[in-house]
Every structure is written in C-alpha cells, then in structure tokens.
C-alpha cells in the first residue's frame, strides 16, 4: 500500500430504493454506484468524468460521508493518524467524525453556487459557519480569519456584509470555495464547480482552484462531465458509466490513447473550440440505459459498437492495461485497432 494514499474506496455500492404503490413498498432500486474501487493519492487531482446520472455526485458524496453507502468501505489515511494507517470511516456517524477531527478535513464544493449558499445568510456568516462548527474562534479572530479566506479566493472585506444574490455566479463560487477551505481540509470534492459558470469565469475559478491546491497542499476529486476541463486540471482521470468505473488512467495517457470504447466515444463527442481540429466522430446510438435495470454483462454493450456475445453475458473485470492504467472491457486490446478500422483515425 503506497504511503501517500489519502482515501481508498473498496467495492463501494449505493442503491437507492424506489418506493411505489399505495403502500410505499420498494418496487425497485437505482443502482447509483455498483462497486467502485478507487485509490486517491495525496496531492493529486483525480478527475471523475461521465454522463449525467452515472453516479459521479453519488461517489463524491459517499467519499466525504454525506450519505451511507449500501456496501463497501472507505478508508481515510490522515496525516495525523500516521503514515499508512487508515481509518475506516464508512460507518462513522457525525459525532465520531467530528471527534476524530475528520469532518473538517473532507470538504466539498457543489455544482451550483446559487443553491449551495443559503440565500438568507450574510457572506460573513456563511464562511464563518464551518469554523464555528469545528472549533470556534473568538469574534476578533473569526473576523480576521474570514477576511483572510475571502482574500485567498480573490474577494475583499467589502463583500462581508452582503447576501449571496448580490454576487455574480463566479463570485458566488469563490465564496463556496472559501467556505470549503475554511476548516483547513486535506481533501475536497469539487462537484462540477464550473458547470454553472461562463467560460471566462470558468477559467478564473479553475486557475484559483489550481493555485489553492498548490498553496494549501490539497487533494481534489474533480467531478465533471466536461472532458476538456478535466484535461486541464487533473493528473489522473476515471471514466464512469452507469455506476462503474470503466477506465482509469493518467490524464495525458487517457486523452492520447484511450482503451475503452466508451472513452473513445466521449472524447470524440466533445465539441472542440478549434476549427482546425476536425475530429473523427463516433456517434453512439441510443441513450444511457436506466440505472434501475442496467444491462447484463458489460453495461455498455447496448451502445458499444464493438459488442460481442461475451459482452452480453459476462461482466468485464478491471484489467491493468499498462502501469497505472485500468480498463474494464473484454476487448480492450483490440479497441484501438477496431476504432481505426471502423472510424478511421
């Protein structure tokens, strides 16, 4: 086990019951996560991409213990616990997390800053709240700390006594970031932090996040559906499809030579803001199947251009395609050739 691991997910599952009928009986389950194994290393930015509904947010929320997973476990390797000594935080309640000092170490920035900031609280109180919840400071110190946090995210003291609606989207996201770093965390889940923002503001926030990562030695789980953003910020990237990770690789490798057919399709589907870049395009047929009844075998087989009989029957296990690269596909060795033949790359 590498000493610099910070979080480890083992066989994580999250099934939401669907209630129905007059008696509110369980009629089905949404398999939002269906066995996620993921190691997150200290100081890295791990990208998590996939289409909406594939379970990215659920993963992020599970990691920071916003909900209880149905199965599997999460280990946290905090600095204070000694190198390589993990704490199983899967079953820990709110109080236990606080007592172990873990609650403040795992934070999250949400997708939409309009809904993640309480509209009836002043910025001052929004940013002070996590500090108050963790240890509390004297009024004077608190004021100083809040001002310092605001400064770190590029806002000024003048903004303290305002309500969220008086800010633009980008500024609101800065406030959300300030709140997330208020408790001096180790690890932050960034759940689509720029999806609700405009391009010019997106670049500001991405740059801010990058510089904060350097100065505060943060580890990020960067959740997004925007592949070019992931390419810009993350060191490693995991691709999710219907509650499973189908490919995991260093970002540069993933973009240069993807193995999984789904990754191929995703990459080729990105509209590239560059007229000289004429991509070959793999247009997938059909929609993402419902996570209530995921397809048998390989979940991607209903849309995969290279599906074979074995794909329908047997679920592929993640194989180490190259050092540090995992791919879950029966035919990953053939895929680059198949793509070349079929779509001419």
């Amino acid at each position: 086990m590498p000493a610099d691991m910070i979080l480890q997910l083992k066989g994580l599952k999250k099934h939401y019951p669907i209630l129905g009928g007059v008696l509110r009986k369980q009629i089905n389950t949404v398999k939002a996560l269906d066995g996620i194994d993921l190691d997150i290393y200290r100081g890295e930015c791990l990208g998590l991409v996939g289409e909406s509904g594939c379970g990215k947010t659920t993963t992020g929320k599970a990691v920071i213990r916003l909900h209880d997973p149905s199965e599997g476990s999460i280990f946290y390797y905090g600095k204070e616990h000694g190198a390589g000594r993990g704490v199983d935080i899967t079953g820990l309640g709110r109080r236990a997390l606080k007592k172990l000092g873990i609650r403040g170490k795992l934070q999250m920035v949400f997708q939409d800053p309009t809904t993640s900031l309480n509209p009836r609280m002043l910025i001052k109180n929004i940013i002070a709240e996590p500090i108050r919840a963790q240890n509390g400071l004297g009024a004077r110190q608190m004021e100083k700390r809040v001002a310092e946090l605001l400064y770190m995210v590029g806002l000024t003291k003048d903004h303290l006594l305002r309500y969220p609606h008086e800010f633009s989207g980008g500024q609101r996201q800065r406030i959300a970031v300030a709140r997330a770093i208020a408790t001096d965390p180790d690890f932050i889940v960034l759940d689509e932090p720029t999806s609700a923002l405009d391009v010019s503001v997106q670049a500001q926030i991405l740059n801010l996040l990058k510089s904060l990562q350097d100065s505060l030695q943060l580890t990020y789980l960067f959740v997004t559906h925007h592949l070019l953003v992931v390419k810009y910020v993350s060191n490693r990237t995991a691709v999710m499809y219907l509650g499973k990770i189908v490919e995991l690789a260093p970002t540069a490798d993933l973009f240069a030579s993807p193995f999984h057919p789904y990754t191929h399709a995703l990459l080729s589907g990105i509209p590239i803001p560059d007229v000289d870049h004429k991509p070959h395009r793999i247009v997938l047929a059909g929609d993402v199947p419902s996570p209530m009844n995921p397809p048998s075998g390989c979940r991607f087989h209903t849309r995969c251009p290279f599906a074979q009989e074995v794909c329908r029957r047997q679920e592929p296990v993640a194989a180490e395609a190259a050092p540090g690269r995992l791919v879950a596909c029966h035919r990953w060795q053939d895929v680059p050739r198949l793509v070349r033949e079929r779509f001419g790359k």
Binding site: A203, I270, D287
Partner: protein, 393 residues
Amino acid sequence: MPKLIETRDLVTNFYTYEGVVKALNKVGLVIERGTTFGLVGESGCGKSVTARSMMRVVQEPGRIEGGQVLFYPGEDGQEAVELLSQSEAYMQSLRGDQISMIFQEPNAALNPIMTIGDQVAESFLFHRKKEMCAKVLEDLKTADLPWPGLKKLLEFFYRRAAADPGDRLCCWASRTPILKRWQQRLFREARRRSVEIIAALDIANADQVVDRYPHNLSGGMKQRILIAMALACEPLLLIADEATSNLDVTIQAQILDLLRKLKKKSISSILLITHDLGVVAETCDRVGVMYAGSVCEVARVGELFRNPLHPYTRALLDAVPKFSVSGQLKSVEGNVPNLVDPPSGCRFHPRCPLRRKICAQRLPELALAGPDHLVACHLAGGRSGSAQVWGGR
C-alpha cells in the same frame, strides 16, 4: 447568399425593480438563407433576448424600444417585411410556420398529458391543414367506403376545408357529435406524417414512440421531438436556443449530427444560440459574438477562430480549455457588468486589456475589418491597424 432575416439597431429593455435592464444595445445581425448562424456569448449577454425580440416574444417586463427586424420571405432576399410594425396576427402566422424555435428546456415546451404523436400531429394540423385536406381528398377518390353517400359527404367537407382551413361549416361539424368524425382521415394523415418525421430524426421505432408521453422519454429524445415539431412545417429559419446545452456529450453529438444532416437536406437556415464555442466551431457557418448586450464581432467561423479581432473574442478563445493546447488558461479579469448600469462607450472597456481613452466615451460601431468580418472595436478600424496592435496570431 440572399438575406433571410436582419436586425438593425435593436434595443430591448427590461423594466425591473432594480432599474431598467438595458439588455440589447443596438444589435445588428444578418442571417443569410441556407446558413447556420451561431450566436455565442456568456450567459446574460442577450442572446435569448435577441432571438425573442426577432420573433417578438420578449417576456415581461421587457419591451422592444427601437430598431428594426427585417424579414425577407422571398427567395431572392429583396423584399423586406419590417416585423416590429406588423400586426400580432401576422406574427402568429409567422411563428412556428416560417420561423420555429426550440429551447434549452424541453419539458417547458411539451405538454405532459398529451402523447408525443398528438403533439407533433397538432403542429401539422395547425400549420398544414389545408395541404393535408387536399391530400385526403386525393386519397378519397380511390377509397372504398361502405356507402356512396358517406363518400360524398366526406368529399364535401374535405373540399371545403381544403379551400379554406378555417371554414365555418367544417368547424361547426367538428364540434358536433357523430358529424365530427369526418376529421378522422385528417387525423390519420397527421399521424402518418408525425411518424414519418420522427423516424427521419434517427429515432428507432417511431410508431411506438408516438404513443408515449413526454415523461417516458429521455432529455435527448425530447429535444429531438421538439426538433421534429419545429420542422413539421418546414420553416425558413430554425432558432435553437441552447438546445443542446443540457444534454450529455454523447447525446449532444447525436443532436448536432442530426442538425447538420437536416441542414444538408433542407435548405432552411439555423440560428444556433449557445455559450459553447466548441459547438459553434463544429456546426456553424457564420458566428456572431455578443457581450453585455452588444454584438462585438461577426465573421465566418474559420476566420473568427483563426483571426479573432475583438479583444473579447480573443479573451474568450483563450479562456476555453482546448484539446491540443495545455498550460495555463488565460482568464478575463472582472465580471460581466450589470446591465442596469452598463459601462459607458464600449461595454467591454472595464475588462479590456487594450482599452484607450476613447473606449469609455464612444460606442464602437460594427465595421468591416476584413472580408466578411465585422468588428465593433475602436482599435480594429482596418485589418492592418489591428494587426499592428495584436501582432500575428
């Protein structure tokens, strides 16, 4: 290429509690026949308001306060109709018939308690009734009916309806029990056309999809149904306002692919509104860039991406993550201005790295800075001038 629709100095304001939101600041655009025109800009810059002003469907508390919208219905693009001075009835006949609109949020546009087929058929019945009645009349000639009187009766109704879709007698008959069944053949025809057009949009088992309700369909599917409804009457202009922005990459790829194919098949023009420069680069012929209610730059797509002249366009292009380039993204300092109290002169000047004194004083006009390349910037008077300022790219 002949013109199809044009706006001149369009000004639209919103009267809100905070003050007057000056949403459009003399917007001038030309959309030509058979082209895909992309309108890009950050949210709140007035893209939707521009489109809505063109169709005169600006929401409360907005008002169109100045300028012209010229529509060229003829093939040659000579005769113009000024839409802002037309009656509401004229606009209604235009909307959905010659100009169709699809929006970002498909749920708002689909009726949740009607089947997909009925909704698509409705748009045929609304706009193509006359033509369909004529078709049914044609079919009736060869039809076998149980007794000749019925055939006579049906022919009577369809002949009247084909002559005038709003015929009083037919309308009355449509509301009378038993008699109203004369329309059945018309409905069947509308349904046939619906299935046909849905199938044409790469939707598998179209004949089953028509019997479903909107909540049974995915977002991408709904968006396709809306496109089907918009295309039902072969509009001259299709306005797609962020039609793919809520969709996933793979689904967006499908829809864009579809739009491109449709473009090739029918000659209709598309006004594609989006904030995604990637979508623009891949689908559009010409592009207009908007910032804070003004149009900054209009050019052919290749020209715009290779040789952007307006500082805002350049900033925008530098700020998006790209496929090939890596390294630091250049962000634009500052925020989009509040349009209640917009900056004087060039609205971009508080954030512009190249601003001069004149920028805060005078509004730059959209002017030719190269072949088919319009720029609204004081520093882009001519190609050579701008090249000096920015150097080659």
